[in-house]
């Protein structure tokens, strides 16, 4: 398994003309890697992921997975989305085993033994993500964190060569988010999952990844690449270690430099002072 991304670029049409979302970008993900793409919103990191999944087309460049050119979505690249994407009419178990409803996994050329192993593996995954008591529940009865755990189990149950994750914990509260990060880290280590992970949360990226790619704001391009020095035995505590904070500083600096932000501190203070003056004048 080797993901090779070469010179991918993408622009969107808008009323104001073409907007370049992604400048020609290249990188690769090796077997067992956990690679995170971080960057400000609108930097094209999610676009990059969707192109890799084959759900969007690129203007130029190629995506190759184990030497095969990616032309559309298929089961080799599983995906976990930011929004809750469980099928609301199916139970937790039926959702995790959704792939078994598809011809790709049940056609005559798939031996029964394989299907049985897959089913057993899916059951095991429900257990691992801690939802064995909820396997017959409907998604509407689950919390946000539980829904995302089902989505992760569903993607893993299909044994993708690489797991693509688009801000999967973005909608969760801070505490649940940390629990999910711990789960994801252990899953990636024990299940030897290769992951391409998109987030705007720098801490999350540093904690989970073996490598972090920092994107600039639009048009997105890679401005920094960090090999994370922490081993697989890392715990949530490392988020407070000097080394971690140093890396965090480095990434944050990159992000702040790369984007012309309308919401920086000085500008806000300036506007606040102005409005203060006018209110004082009005009250006189």
């Amino acid at each position: 398994m080797n993901l090779e991304i070469t010179n991918i670029s993408k622009s969107y049409k808008s009323r104001a003309g073409d907007v370049q979302a992604l400048a020609a970008t290249s990188f690769s993900v090796g077997p067992g890697d956990f690679v995170s793409l971080v960057g400000p919103s609108g930097c094209g990191k999610s676009t990059m992921l969707y192109i890799t999944a084959g759900l969007e087309s690129a203007d130029s460049g190629t995506v190759e997975l184990s030497g095969r050119r990616v032309t559309g979505p298929d089961r080799s690249r599983g995906m976990v989305f930011q929004a809750y994407t469980l099928m609301p009419w199916l139970t937790v178990e039926q959702n995790v085993k959704f792939a078994h409803r598809l011809d790709a996994n049940t056609d005559y050329h798939v031996p029964i033994a394989d299907i049985l192993t897959q089913q057993a593996y899916a059951d095991k995954l429900i257990d691992i993500v801690g939802l064995s008591d909820f396997r017959n529940r409907l998604p509407r009865e689950l919390s946000g964190g539980m829904k995302q755990r089902v989505a992760i189990a569903r993607a893993l149950a299909n044994k993708p060569e690489i797991l693509l994750m688009d801000e999967p914990f973005g909608a969760l509260d801070a505490q649940t988010r940390e629990e999910m990060q711990e789960l994801m880290l252990l899953l990636s280590i024990y299940e030897r999952t290769t992951v391409l992970f998109v987030t705007h949360d720098v801490e999350e990226a540093l904690y989970l990844s073996s490598r972090v790619l920092v994107f600039s704001s639009r048009p997105g391009r890679i401005v920094d690449e960090i090999d994370i020095p922490f081993g697989s035995d890392r715990t949530l505590d490392i988020k407070l270690s000097p080394e971690f904070l140093r890396l965090k500083r480095r990434v944050l600096d990159q992000l702040h430099h790369s984007g012309g932000r309308a919401l920086n501190r000085d500008a806000i203070l300036e506007r606040l002072r102005e409005s203060n003056l006018t209110t004082q004048q009005l009250s006189k």
Partner: protein
């Protein structure tokens, strides 16, 4: 008053009370209006609730009108046995109108059912395809929108020319009147299935056909069912329109006939029966919906 706040939930007792209050207001208004006609000596044009209730009882042979005639017949009889016989005869005669009513209801129900099933068989798949495939939508949507604005009753003469005056033109009228609504509503529901769900299916190895059959269809089913429920209401409307024009039995036909005899009380009875039938079918749809699509139930607030 907290009840006056928007979306403030109501407790059960209040709800029952509200429902009853609605009926009391309705019947009082009806009574006042009929009283207004009665003052002018035109009670026959707009019967009071009591008169309609009496007429309804007459269908079972126990209304005031039947009883009056029965008593007259008894008075004219010479022996007790003859009196009993003539009373029985008059009451049995009154019950014949109940048979007319059930006969009308049966034939009308049959027309609606056939047309409605046809509309569902044609409309739901078309709607699914329009909602799922843009190329299909581009071909069919404009035509559908256009045809939808042709007033359906305007088709009646044409339908009679084409299909005669048997069942076919009535079924066709109901079919045309509901199928287009159904197509548009179904396609709307299918269009609202979140893109994410389709993409999940693709990344798990699903084919395009599977995305339609295993994601879009099941996700849209509760909405489709709701569309069917609403279209059922439309079907009954078109049924009456069809029967008003050319029929010799059925609910609409009978209403026109009673109009000729200025039998407004019975018209009211038929209207109430129609309302009850509609309500019953609606309730049935809701029950089935709640049973099969528990996953889609929305919370009250």
């Amino acid at each position: 008053m907290r009840v006056l706040q928007p979306r403030q939930p109501l407790n059960r007792r209040f709800k029952v009370f509200g429902g009853l209050l609605g009926f009391v207001i309705f019947i009082t208004a009806w009574k006042l209006l009929s009283g207004h006609y009665a003052e002018k000596g035109q009670a026959v044009l707009f019967p009071s609730p009591a008169a309609v209730g009496g007429a309804a009882l007459d269908y079972f042979g126990y209304g005031p009108e039947t009883t009056k005639r029965a008593l007259e017949a008894r008075a004219g009889a010479t022996t007790a046995a003859e009196a009993d016989r003539s009373e029985m005869k008059i009451r049995a005669k009154a019950r014949e109108s109940l048979e007319t009513l059930t006969g009308d209801l049966r034939i009308s129900f049959q027309r609606v059912l056939v047309a409605f099933l046809l509309a569902a068989i044609v409309g739901v798949p078309l709607g699914l395809f329009i909602g799922a495939f843009h190329w299909f939508e581009s071909i069919l949507q404009p035509v559908t929108e256009f045809v939808r604005y042709v007033p359906v009753p305007a088709l009646i003469p044409l339908l009679i020319v084409l299909f005669g005056i048997d069942e076919a033109p009535k079924v066709m009228l109901i079919f045309i009147g509901t199928v287009l609504q159904l197509v548009l509503m179904t396609s709307d529901v299918v269009r609202r299935v979140p893109m994410d769900l389709l993409q999940v299916c693709y990344t798990l190895g699903g084919k395009a056909s599977e995305v339609v059959s295993k994601v879009m269809l099941p996700a849209a089913l509760p909405g489709i069912f709701d569309a069917l429920r609403l279209c059922n209401g439309w079907a009954w409307t078109w049924l009456i329109v069809a029967e008003l024009v050319a029929a010799n039995e059925g609910m609409g036909y009978r209403i026109v006939k009673y109009q000729r005899f200025l039998d407004t009380e019975r018209i009211f009875v038929y209207l109430i029966v129609l309302g009850l039938v509609g309500l019953g079918i609606d309730l049935l749809f809701r029950l089935v919906n709640r049973h099969f699509f528990r996953w889609a139930a929305t919370d009250k607030r």
